[in-house]
Subunit: 424 residues, 2 copies
């Protein structure tokens, strides 16, 4: 126990010490570290993919599900995508040091805010090894030290990627210890990390609902929770059905194992008999299994080669992470909004409509991190939103909501320039 | 127990229901409620002051300390100040609905952020009855429902002020239940409120260190902590001593019982023998007791009518909330910054200097919510910073730092206007 304590304590102290220096590290040095990472992701591709193949083989042999295996898997294209994201982050404006809201008060005090790093960010995550690189690059660029704790199922991939990050930092002259990886698989260390309020300023859990709940309940420091996406697309009366079918197909099929993928289609009754068969037959081509309420099921009886089963109460509010969609006919925009209010997870919600007022009402009244008109919910992503990458997608309202990039990893201090002012 | 549960449950449900409506209540209606509050603070002055006198008399009879009594006390001037603050808040721009960071992505998606209320804000506070009005007006204007739990020592004052707020809301047509006051003095209700994650989006504790620690450790929802101010003023070599003496006098004496009042003076050794006697003799005129390190004590032996005692380790890092100041001589700006880093609470810190580089280094390197050059730390206040009022002063880095006004009581959602975009 003492040994374990010391192991994590040493890492956390090193991160805290690095954070103090990193807060004042010039942008050019931070950018060089990121460019080094991007370069090494290609140069050291073989090393990374070999490690990843071992993780994949072990996962497959251990009976890991297809969704999990897809999240775990790396290939040259995914590595190139990761490198491109890191380069994008390097090219973004450094948020640290930005002075904003500066003004002069009637008493002559000049007062404003200056953006500063948070300090030390802890990340606890599962499966997707790209998280190692995304979170490292965003934290380092925003002047934060980072302590990473990946899942045991990707330990080899993560160690290979961490080697890339650590070497890249050293090569650029970043403070030693700025990126820490907890390579000891002992699960008790997670609990210990969550109690290190004196060293860690923010914890970001990324993974399944159980992990997120565990972190939220046990962390003594602020936590940003999210990543659970029960995403609806509502097809309004008078919607363009071709548009609706394409958006729904994309939201469900393009990458079904991620949090911004579609889970439930809501469709207005006045358009359902014409529209639903078209939407469903598109989904059917990709083998999507449909869990239908009674009304939608009756509309799909004639459509060939569909996998249709009756929806149960459990289907509403379920994040499928697979080629399954729940379908429900509603009689109004209000009913759609109420359904989303009851079953949504506050992640990403979409309306397909040609009606101006319906679009505006949906945007205003649906309470979620990202609300769309006539677009696929798959866009909720730091890269897609222009943030370069993301440390996570917050579904809470405090501090940051939706994809979290550089700015969301900062705080600010008030700075006040006086010339002797005192309060009356 | 069941009765108690029901009592708070009913209030929390009513607040949640009101919050849903309040999110869409027009600015003019919210402003009218605030103007009604301001008007009633004058019109109903006798009623409020009578209630306050009873609280004060009871506190005095019960042996309440001077600091606490000062915080509790209302008078016509303080009521007018409260009314003026409420009017200022009414005149501020409504943050709700603001659309910002809107841009068009290369794929034609228009994407931006829209500001929304947090929902239901809970406030648990002690002593100062103006908190009832400050928090109510800021929450209502920013579209949040509020659940207030004031201290038993000001229960009569708070009930009188809550009556003003509730009547003002009803008069303006605000959703019923938007402002709730927990008038049952049972202390177990605080613990219960802290577990109501489904109803309360944010808890703000305002009071002593024990209250803040209790709330931070027991709340299941996000908490913004702060209000503990261990504030330093550092007098640099080459400082203008007259300026330093006036700033330090103001920071210590103008209202010693509040969190932004000075606790410790640090002074550079090269200026201490000339400067410290002047600074100390100013403080001495107001009867300030000085807890001095050895070097500063030796410099003050010749100064008449000073209350000087040797400082102990406990004096550094102590929030005095009284006419007491700790004094220490340091040999460099670095030593001052290190001392503040070790003992400060991250609230308000000031440097008095004529040196440009020292000023910039202090602003950059001191890690606190508000960092000053040549001004009194007493300015750290929502009203003084132009926020109208404040729900509290955050000393944490997540979500908001320093005085929290309207904008700090909001979140945002991403809104995305598409025309059929899907992800490739």
């Amino acid at each position: 126990m003492n040994n374990r304590n010391e192991y994590l304590e040493t890492k956390a102290q090193a991160a805290r010490a690095a954070a103090k220096k990193l807060a004042f590290t010039p942008t050019a040095v931070k950018n060089q570290a990121l460019l080094n990472i991007a370069e090494a992701l290609t140069k050291r591709q073989d090393e990374i993919l070999t490690a990843n193949r071992q993780d994949y083989a072990e996962g497959e042999a251990g009976g890991m599900g297809a969704a999990m295996l897809d999240r775990l898997m790396l290939n040259p294209a995914r590595l190139q995508g990761m490198a491109a994201d890191v380069k994008t982050v390097a090219a973004l404006t450094d948020p640290v040091g930005e002075v904003f809201d500066m003004r002069t008060l009637p008493n002559g005090l000049q007062i404003g805010k200056k953006r500063v790093p948070l300090g030390v960010v802890g990340a606890i995550y599962e499966s997707r090894p790209n998280v190692t690189v995304d979170i490292s690059s965003l934290c380092l660029k925003s002047g934060n030290a980072v302590i990473l704790r990946g899942g045991s199922e990707t330990i080899r991939s993560n160690l290979a990627l961490v080697a890339v990050v650590v070497d890249a930092c050293a090569g650029a002259g970043l403070p030693a210890g700025a990126a820490q990886f907890v390579d000891n698989p002992d699960r008790a260390l997670v609990g210990q990390l969550l109690r290190m309020r004196e060293y860690v300023d923010l914890i970001i859990p990324r993974g399944g609902a159980d992990l997120i709940r565990f972190v939220a309940e046990n962390a003594r420091m602020p936590v940003i929770t999210g990543g659970i996406g029960v995403c609806h697309t509502y097809v309004d009366k008078g919607a363009d059905i071709r548009k609706a079918a394409a958006i729904i197909y994309n939201a469900k099929v393009q990458r079904p194992t991620v949090c911004n993928a579609l889970d439930t289609v809501l469709i207005h009754s006045s358009i359902a008999s014409d529209g639903l068969p078209q939407i469903a037959s598109e989904l059917g081509k990709a083998g999507v299994e449909l869990h239908c309420d009674e009304r939608s099921r009756s509309l799909l009886t004639g459509v060939p080669s569909l996998k249709v089963t009756p929806a149960t109460e459990q289907d509403w509010g379920k994040e499928f992470l697979a080629l399954i969609a729940a379908i429900k006919v509603v009689d109004s925009l209000d009913e759609a909004i109420e359904h989303i209010d009851k079953y949504g997870s506050g992640h990403s919600e979409a309306i397909v409509t040609e009606n101006y007022t319906a679009a505006q009402r949906f945007l205003n009244e649906v309470d979620a991190a990202a609300v769309y008109v006539n677009a696929s919910t798959r866009f909720t992503d730091g890269g897609q939103f222009g943030l370069g990458a993301e440390v996570g997608i917050s579904t809470q309202k405090m501090h940051a909501r939706g994809p979290m990039g550089l700015k969301e990893l900062t705080s600010y201090k008030w700075i006040i320039y006086g010339n002797g002012q005192v309060r009356e």
